[in-house]
Amino acid sequence: MELVSQIGGGVTNGLAYVGSLATLAGRAAWYTFVAPFRGRPLRLTRAFSQAMDCGVRALPILSLITFFFGLILALQSAYELRKFGAIDLVATAVAVSMTRELGPLITAIIVIGRSGSAFAAEIGTMKVTEEIDALETMAISPVSFLVAPKFVAMIVMLPCLTIWANTMGILGGGVFGVLQADFTIGRYVRASMDALILRDLITGLIKSVMFGMTITAVGCLEGLNTGAGAEQVGKWPPPAVGWSFFLVVLGDLVFTMLFFFLGG
């Protein structure tokens, strides 16, 4: 009975947390898409600065990791495809896997590590030092001032990073194709392009937008929920990281199932 009660409590808390995330994301979306038409302009300078931080500065590490992932994927695919004399399909396997699944997911994981935890730490520190209270007493909404610019930056930059990650992954697979499977660079790229349909790219990009919203909401909510005292900010791994991983993978599962059953 106690176990049932604990499970029930856990589910209730989980749903309450997801409700808080949805509320925060909803408010950030309001400040992003509605408020500018009601005389409350979006803070574009802050959004641009956030986009530089969470997007442009993530490019070197994202490029390296996705390039290696493409290469690994090609090696693993070739291991099986060689048995059937179908090593030419390596380009297809890498392109489809990266575009539909791995590109958005790896990008999200890297961004969680770089930016999700940074959002939580930044806002958590501001909470502890009363800067969030100061914003409120100046009649400035913390969601409008802090969360909305991050929200804009993430929903713009995550798809851009995902496209970049897809490209680097395909290039990584191309290295194997050229060295081991008698492809030329041009033929490998052409084979990859032929294997992809627009829907592959779009499903990946839709996922990446959802991941961006999830990571922003979790990072910012964890920051806003930080308790008193500096030790609360320095907890590692911060809850934002664990929750973001879980919710991104859960969202990925939901969207993959949705696209699968809708015939994607």
Partner: protein
């Protein structure tokens, strides 16, 4: 500015119209009630000091006055509106007419001092950048920080940070200025400077000022009236002289800095424990085993 001159001017411009009015205010964190029915008024142009020991509820009271905590019952009237019963937009409108200086300054670490001071002006006015620039320099000059607009908060001393926070709180020319522990963590000279600044602001702008503190010297210097809060209740309220002359036991204990009886007993117990208990025949022993 001479202190005598400032003291003579005290209460000159206080009218009977209250700028802040509390009626049977109760505030609770969950099941725990912190404030148990607080009532008092702060008149226009008056400096009211809220005194109280640690954990007395004075900071919660201040946070409720600026809308950072929600009243569980009762009324909080600011500029003629009960903030316990208004929308967020109405609260924001009131907040444009009040300024708050936090205990830890709460300056935004990622912005220069100038940007911190200019932030409310950029957010709530349509002033040109050049005008905002002039205004922020003026505000910094008023708090004795002229030329520091390009400094980051981390490059300032504790006292300078407090002054910058006051400049930011004054950016919108508020009618009411709230201070949370303005002298906390500052050495006596810097703390005296902050007191002087508060007196000068009152003199120059005839602001209504509400200060939460437990620094008695500071409180007696800047206050027109004082209210003593203890365990979430108003114990005494009155002018500086009335408080000085008060014979109420709790007021006397606070002003005369007398420890709680149980603390005194604990100290006796500690003294007993640390007394030399070595037997008389041991070297250096006094034989009180």
């Amino acid at each position: 500015m001479a202190r005598e001159e400032l003291e003579m001017d005290r209460s000159d411009d206080s009218s009977s119209e209250p700028m802040v009015s509390l009626r049977d205010l109760h505030v609770a964190y969950g099941d725990r009630e912190i404030l148990h029915g607080i009532s008092f008024d702060v008149k226009r142009g008056e400096t009211m000091v809220i005194l109280g020991g640690s954990g007395s509820g004075k900071s919660t009271l201040l946070r409720t006055l600026v809308g950072l905590e929600q009243a569980s019952s009762g009324e909080v009237w600011i500029r003629g509106k009960n903030i316990a019963d208004i929308s967020q937009d109405e609260m924001d409108e009131i907040r444009k007419h009040i300024g708050m200086s936090f205990q830890g300054s709460a300056l935004f670490g990622s912005m220069t001092v100038g940007d911190n001071v200019a932030l409310p002006l950029r957010e709530h006015t349509k002033l040109e950048d050049s005008t905002i620039e002039i205004m922020l320099r003026l505000k910094l000059e008023q708090v004795g920080l002229a030329g520091f607009e390009y400094y980051m908060p981390s490059q300032l001393s504790g006292g300078m940070m407090k002054r910058a926070a006051v400049a930011r709180a004054m950016a919108m020319d508020p009618e009411i200025l709230f201070f949370d522990e303005p002298s906390a963590g500052l050495d006596p000279i810097i703390a005296a400077g902050i007191d002087q600044l508060i007196l000068e602001l009152k003199k120059a702008f005839r602001m209504t000022i509400v200060v939460v503190t437990h620094e008695l010297a500071s409180a007696f210097l800047i206050a027109d009236r004082m209210v003593l809060i203890d365990k979430g209740n108003v114990v005494a309220i009155g002018t500086v002289d009335e408080m000085r002359k008060s014979t109420q036991p709790r007021v006397r204990q606070f002003l005369d800095r007398v420890a709680e009886p149980e603390v005194a007993r604990e100290l006796d117990y500690l003294q007993m424990l640390t007394e030399d208990r070595r037997p008389a025949d041991m070297p250096g022993g006094k034989g009180r085993a």
